[in-house]
Symmetry: C2
Subunit: 433 residues, 2 copies
C-alpha cells in the first residue's frame, strides 16, 4: 500500500495543527483514502526551534526547494503565507506535478486564476478551503452543495478580529481604541492591525467568495473597502436604539449579469441571522434563488479549525489520486466579469447629522433627499447634551443608489444648517433579492 507523502511549507500555528491532525486522525484518514499519509518534509525558518509536534529532525529543512523538488512528495501544503515568493513556490510545485493545498487568502485573492489554470494545465489539484472562514467549509458548499442554484447574494462576517472588536463595542458600549488594545493583549489582533481593521483581509476573502459564488473572475481591485477604525461609540449607541447591530460585512450581490462586492461596517436588523454571530466567530450568509436563505457558521481562524479545512482538502486530493481524477474538479468561470456602476448599486443608508437647531433646518435637509427621490424609513431627532443650539438627526433611508447618495452627501455638507455629517453606514438585511 503506497504511502502518500506530503510536503509542508511552514510550521507555524496552522502548520502545527496540520501535523497534529494527520497524526491523531491517521486511522480515520486511512479508512477514507485507503492508504497511509505521511508528512515527509517541512520547510521551517529555524530547524533547532522547540516545537509542539513529533517530527524527526531530518524532516525539517530551511530550503524550500528541498520540499518542492522532492520526487517522493505528492502533495504540497502551503501555510507560510506571503504573496510574491509563495506564488513562485506554488507555480513551481504545480509544474512539478505536485498537488497543492493552501490556506493563503492573500495569494488566492491576487493570483487565484493563474494558480488554478496552472493546476489544471498540469492535471493537478489546487484546493484552498482554509483561505476563507477557517473551519467553515464554505467554498465546497458554494461549488458542490449549492451547485444547482443561482446564488445572488452573499454576506460574510469573514474577519474574526473585527468581529471580536465590534461585539465588544456593541455589548459593552466600549470605545474602539480601548477594545482594540484588549484584542491585541488577548492575541485576537496583531500589533499592526491594519489589514484586519481596515477591511483588507475581509476584502480578499470576499473576492474569493464572489469568484466562486458568481462564477466570474472578480479581482481584489473590484472590492470596495471601508474599515471599522472610525466607528464611534455614538454610532453604536444610535444604531442599537434603532434596532440594528453593527458588523463588518462583506457583501457580494448580483443582479442579472452584474455584480457588486464591498466590505464595510454595516447595520443589520437585530433579528438577522448574522447579527448574533459574536466574538471571533465567522459566518457566511448565502442567498440562492431556489434555496433561499442559508447560513454557515464556525470558527474563522485558529490552529486546529484552519488545519481541519487544510486536511479535509488533503483528503479530497488523496481520494482524487486513488481514482486518478486529479485536476478535473475546477470549473472555469461561466460569466464575463461585469461590475455595477455606482448608479446601479442600491442600499439603505444610515446617517447621523449634527444640525443647527433653528426653524426650517429639518425641511432643508429633507428636501435634499426628496430632490433625488430618496425617502426615509426611520428618523430620530434628539437634542445634543451641552449644545443647546444643535440637534442630532439620525436618518435611515429607503433604497438609494450610491450615486444619488454621494450627491446627497455633498449637498448636505454645503447646507448652512448642517454642522457636520458625523457618519454614514450601509443598512442591510431588511429584504432579499
Amino acid at each position: 500500500m503506497k504511502v502518500i507523502n506530503v510536503g509542508l511549507l511552514g510550521l507555524g500555528t496552522v502548520g502545527t495543527g496540520v501535523v497534529k491532525i494527520i497524526e491523531d486522525h491517521q486511522d480515520q484518514l486511512m479508512h477514507q483514502v485507503g492508504c497511509p499519509v505521511s508528512v515527509k518534509k517541512v520547510l521551517v525558518k529555524d530547524i533547532h526551534k522547540d516545537r509542539d509536534v513529533n517530527l524527526p529532525k531530518e524532516a525539517l529543512t530551511t530550503e524550500p526547494y528541498d520540499v518542492i523538488h522532492d520526487p517522493e512528495i505528492d502533495v504540497i501544503i502551503e501555510v507560510i503565507g506571503g504573496i510574491e515568493q509563495t506564488r513562485v513556490y506554488l507555480l513551481d510545485a504545480l509544474k512539478e506535478k505536485k498537488h497543492v493545498v493552501t490556506a493563503n487568502k492573500d495569494l488566492m485573492a491576487l493570483y487565484g486564476s493563474e494558480l488554478i489554470s496552472t493546476a489544471t494545465e498540469n492535471s493537478c489539484d489546487l484546493y484552498y478551503e482554509a483561505s476563507v472562514a477557517g473551519g467553515i467549509p464554505i467554498l465546497r458548499t458554494l461549488v458542490e452543495g449549492l451547485s444547482s442554484d443561482r446564488i445572488t447574494k452573499m454576506m460574510g462576517i469573514v474577519n474574526g478580529t473585527t468581529n471580536f472588536i465590534l461585539t465588544k463595542m456593541n455589548k459593552e458600549k466600549a470605545a474602539y481604541d480601548e477594545v482594540l488594545k484588549e484584542a491585541q493583549d488577548l492575541g485576537f489582533a496583531e500589533s499592526d492591525p491594519t489589514a484586519d481593521v481596515e477591511g483588507l483581509d475581509a476584502a480578499r476573502k470576499m473576492a474569493i467568495l464572489a469568484r466562486l459564488g458568481f462564477s466570474m473572475n472578480v479581482d481584489l481591485d473590484d472590492v470596495s473597502v471601508k474599515g471599522i477604525s472610525s466607528i464611534s461609540d455614538e454610532d453604536i449607541a444610535f444604531s442599537t436604539r434603532l434596532g440594528y447591530t453593527m458588523k463588518l460585512i462583506g457583501i457580494a450581490h448580483r443582479h442579472g449579469n452584474k455584480a457588486e462586492v464591498s466590505v464595510q461596517p454595516t447595520l443589520l436588523p437585530d433579528h438577522h441571522p448574522l447579527a448574533s454571530v459574536n466574538d471571533e466567530f465567522n459566518a457566511v450568509y448565502v442567498y440562492g434563488e431556489a434555496v433561499g436563505e442559508t447560513m454557515f457558521y464556525g470558527p474563522g481562524a485558529g490552529s486546529l479549525p484552519t488545519a481541519t479545512a487544510v486536511v479535509s482538502d488533503l483528503v479530497a486530493v488523496m481520494k482524487n489520486m486513488r481514482l486518478g481524477v486529479n485536476g478535473k474538479s475546477a470549473v472555469a468561470p461561466q460569466f464575463e466579469k461585469k461590475m455595477k456602476d455606482p448608479g446601479e448599486i442600491y442600499a439603505q443608508q444610515f446617517l447621523r447629522i449634527h444640525v443647527r437647531d433653528q426653524v426650517g433646518s429639518f425641511s432643508k435637509i429633507t428636501s435634499v433627499f426628496s430632490e433625488r427621490g430618496v425617502s426615509f424609513e426611520k428618523i430620530l431627532q434628539l437634542p445634543i447634551k451641552d449644545h443647546d443650539d444643535l440637534a442630532e438627526i439620525v436618518i435611515v433611508t429607503h433604497q438609494a443608489s450610491e450615486e444619488d447618495f454621494s450627491v446627497i452627501l455633498g449637498q448636505l455638507n454645503d447646507l448652512e444648517v448642517v454642522v457636520q455629517v458625523k457618519s454614514t453606514y450601509r443598512v442591510e438585511g431588511n429584504g432579499y433579492s
Copy 2:
C-alpha cells in the same frame, strides 16, 4: 455531446421543483458538467392532471418500470416517498446500473445500508442530500468538508413543523393545540401530524446524520424519541424565566467508541446558536474535536430548497459520469456500532414538580437527588396561584446519568410530599465534549 437523461419518480412538490431547476438553470448545469441534461420520463399518479411545469404529455407515465427500465435513462431521481415499494424500485434501478438520487429520509433511515451497498456493487452512485434538512448541504459537509475531523456531537433542529410550533409557543406564549391548528391551516403541519410532532421524522434524520458523522451503522431503532405534544405553556414560561429556549433537538453524541442518539424536547441557553433558529427553519450544529463549534442553517423543506439539494446531487452524479468514477465515493462505516447504556448517557435535567407546601418538603426532595450524587445548577420555588397548600419547584440539575435520573424520578413520585412531577426536559448546550 451526449445528453444525460433523468427519470423522475414523482411529480409532487419536490418533483416539480426539480423539473423547474433543471429547466431554469440548464446553462449553468451544462457549464459545470459539459453536456445537457433532460428529464426524459416521469412517474405520476394522474397523467391528465394540470401541472405547473412544461413537460410533454408523452414524458409522463403511471407505470414505474417505464421509467426504471428505460435503457436511455442514466439517473433515477426518487421523490415519491414511501418505504417498502420504493425500496424495491430503487434496488431494481441500481441493478439496472442506474444512478439514484433520493430525497427519502424514511427509506434511507430504514434501508440506507442495503441501498448503499447495492449501489457500490453495481458501480452506481446513490446520493441523498435532500433527505436531511432540505436545502442545507449537511451530509456533504460531514463527509467532505469535515472529513479530516472527528465529530463528537451533532445537535439538529431537523423538523420544520415542530420548530414552527415551538417558536410560536416560545414567542407568543400560545398553547400547543392552538398553534398546531394554526400550523395545519398554514400548511406547515399535516392533517395527521403524528410523524412530525411525535419526533419520528426527526429521528429518521438523526439516524442518517449519526451514521455519516460517527461512521457507524446507527439504525432508527437506536434513536430514543420523545415528541412535543405534551409540552405545556407553563413549561415554556418557566424555561423562559430561567434563560432557556425550548426546541425539539436531535442529539447524537459520541464518547470514545460509544454513541447515543435521541430526539427530545430540549432546553437550550438563549445564547446558544440553535436557540435563535426560528419558524420553519432547520439547523444542524456540529462539534468536531479539531474544528470546534460549527452550525449550518437553512430551509428544511419546501419545493425549491429541497429540489436544490436533489439537483446538486444530480450534478455530482453527472460529474462522476464524466470522469468515469461513479459508485466510488461511498465510504463503508469505519466503526462497529456501539450504543451507550442508560448509565453512560449523561445530561442536565430540568424538572417541574408540584409539592405540598409544608415544613421539610424541600429537604426531602433534595435528599433524593443527593443520595444519587446529583447536584443542582438552578432552583426556583414559587407559590401556585389558587393553591395555597402547594408550591411549584423548578430544578435544573448538573450532569446526571439517565439511569440515576430514572431512579430519582421513581423515588420522587413515591414521596408523600410530591403531588406530581409535572414535566422533565433535557438541558443542553452549556458545555461541549
